[in-house]
Subunit: 321 residues, 2 copies
């Protein structure tokens, strides 16, 4: 890395999370009870254990109660059902992978949507893909939950000024070209859909191919469509230099996004826990967010408060009838 | 024009000018006298007459006094010197062209810099080109004036979110590609310099060629440099589709910027009094500003208040000594 002074700025997740954390702490103080998150740990991965400890500390720092429950993987389903039925448990997280196969998905979908603070239920993904914002049409009182990481990315892009507030709501990414290197079902693909639904042209790359998500050039569609791009013409190398935003989420310490593919002034965000960029990215990027974990956990807590709000709305309605 | 609904938004100059007008009206009320603008009209052009009438009405609507002085072109120099020396005149405008040759430039430079509300003095252009913000280094109490139209464009780009406030001050256009179709000495060339000084990559096109203004890819220079681009490779047609912002100022009713060169979501601004875009631009542009006159006149009045402030600072200093 040369000793030139960067023309842009590195923005820390803690800075972006701050106003949400303030809002969350205020929300917790307004409640008559302490919201409780249960973390279910059924693997021996020390990284998962560390992540669980960190989420626990974060929850308690902001006024929530956190209980870590460890169990054997074959007891996880029972522990999950118990937590689902326990009225004193408001949010549930499971630290995956457990079995490392489709059984993990079964377990993930077993978390009650009313306690799914990570927003991983198919219901929430469906709403995200279809641009559905409420759980109770036509009343539209109960807002849908969004998966934590894609939601955190939206908040980050808002903070960074990539969402342009002057444009009509829903079209605030019009004209923005975004490359996302990751197409996992948990983050990459829903994120591509979310940003395309807000008006961006999204290039979604995984190891095999590159796809384009848009609502059409002129945003005449109400939700995104996906086009498989010709690999002869389109690749990360040809697309990256034309993008306003580059987002990576490659879970490997060995992977580095090539700095020379990044045009000067580009907004660069890494959501992988691995460092996907070399430090010289700071001399290229306009805005660089090296990690996003603190925004993601803020969104998790924000989701929890929203789940509690939705429950209160349902309780009020039940009382009336 | 098809009947599709535009995905972007047309933004009127009056909307952008509003907060500046409020600030200006407040500033005028704080003064112990009514600031007076003198307009000198020495040509028979009915358009100039109309423009003079409009500036007069605008000045008076916002608490200023406006005097139109008409004279023969050969008496203009004397009228100008009289206004320069009159302590009751605070701002002077001359409606050009008068002679239509270099004599007009001589007359323009004869306007006292202390009354040059349009910011046309070479002193102010020099400061703009060299990124000099104050008139009295090292005290830096008296802010320099900027030419009205380039200044209006900066305020418009700020309003539209093209300037990104999260980036370090001075680099807020980092990563933005801007095409300016006009390289007049009054607007196009200084505007290109101003935007490049703020971090943009500017393509400045006139009928003959295309130039690039930047502070270097990584903004390592403190002021812009200009590169003549190879016309075999660079033209409005090749550059426009890659730009985030397209600004036109072609003073001809017959000229239309080709809509199909504008990428969807581009910010589009016309500063010519002629309409440089067909209406179908609204189906392409993210943000479209069809004219900017009301912001320009707001900047003229803002400059006048700044000239008055600077005079007050000089008067206070003279009293002390």
């Amino acid at each position: 890395m040369s000793d030139s002074k960067p023309a842009g700025r590195t923005v820390l997740a803690s800075t972006i999370a701050k106003p949400y954390i303030d809002e969350i702490e205020h929300g917790v103080r307004e409640l008559t009870f302490t919201p409780t998150v249960v973390g279910l740990l059924a693997n021996d991965d020390p990284a998962a254990k560390m992540y669980a400890t960190w989420t626990g500390k974060t929850c308690e720092a902001h006024g929530f109660r956190y209980q870590l429950r460890t169990c054997d993987k074959n007891d996880l389903e029972a522990a999950l059902v118990t937590a689902n039925h326990d009225p004193d448990v408001h949010g549930i997280m499971v630290y995956f992978p457990v079995f490392g196969d489709n059984q993990d998905q079964y377990l993930q979908q077993l978390i009650s949507p009313q306690k799914d603070v990570e927003g991983l239920n198919f219901l929430y993904y469906h709403n995200l893909y279809h641009n559905v914002r409420f759980l109770d049409p036509p009343h539209n009182e109960q807002k849908s939950i969004l998966p934590c990481t894609p939601l955190a990315m939206v908040k980050i892009l808002e903070y960074l000024g990539v969402y342009n507030k002057i444009l009509p709501y829903g079209n605030r990414l019009f004209g923005k070209k975004v490359l996302i290197v990751n197409r996992s079902e948990i983050v990459g693909r829903p994120l591509a859909a979310l940003l395309a639904n807000d008006g961006a042209t999204v290039y979604s790359a995984d190891v095999n191919d590159i796809q384009q998500f848009t609502r059409g050039d002129d945003l005449s569609h109400t939700r995104h469509k996906v086009v498989e791009l010709d690999p002869e013409e389109y690749s990360v190398a040809t697309v990256a230099p034309r993008c306003d935003v580059i987002i990576t989420g490659v879970p490997s310490e060995n992977y580095k996004f090539p700095t020379d593919l990044v045009s000067y002034g580009t907004t660069v965000i890494n959501f992988s826990s691995a460092k996907n960029f070399d430090d010289d990215i700071k001399l290229r990027a306009g805005l660089y967010v090296p990690s996003i974990g603190k925004v993601t956990i803020a969104m998790l807590l924000r989701n929890l408060l929203r789940l509690i709000d939705n429950q209160a709305i349902r309780d009020r309605k039940a009382d009336k009838t």
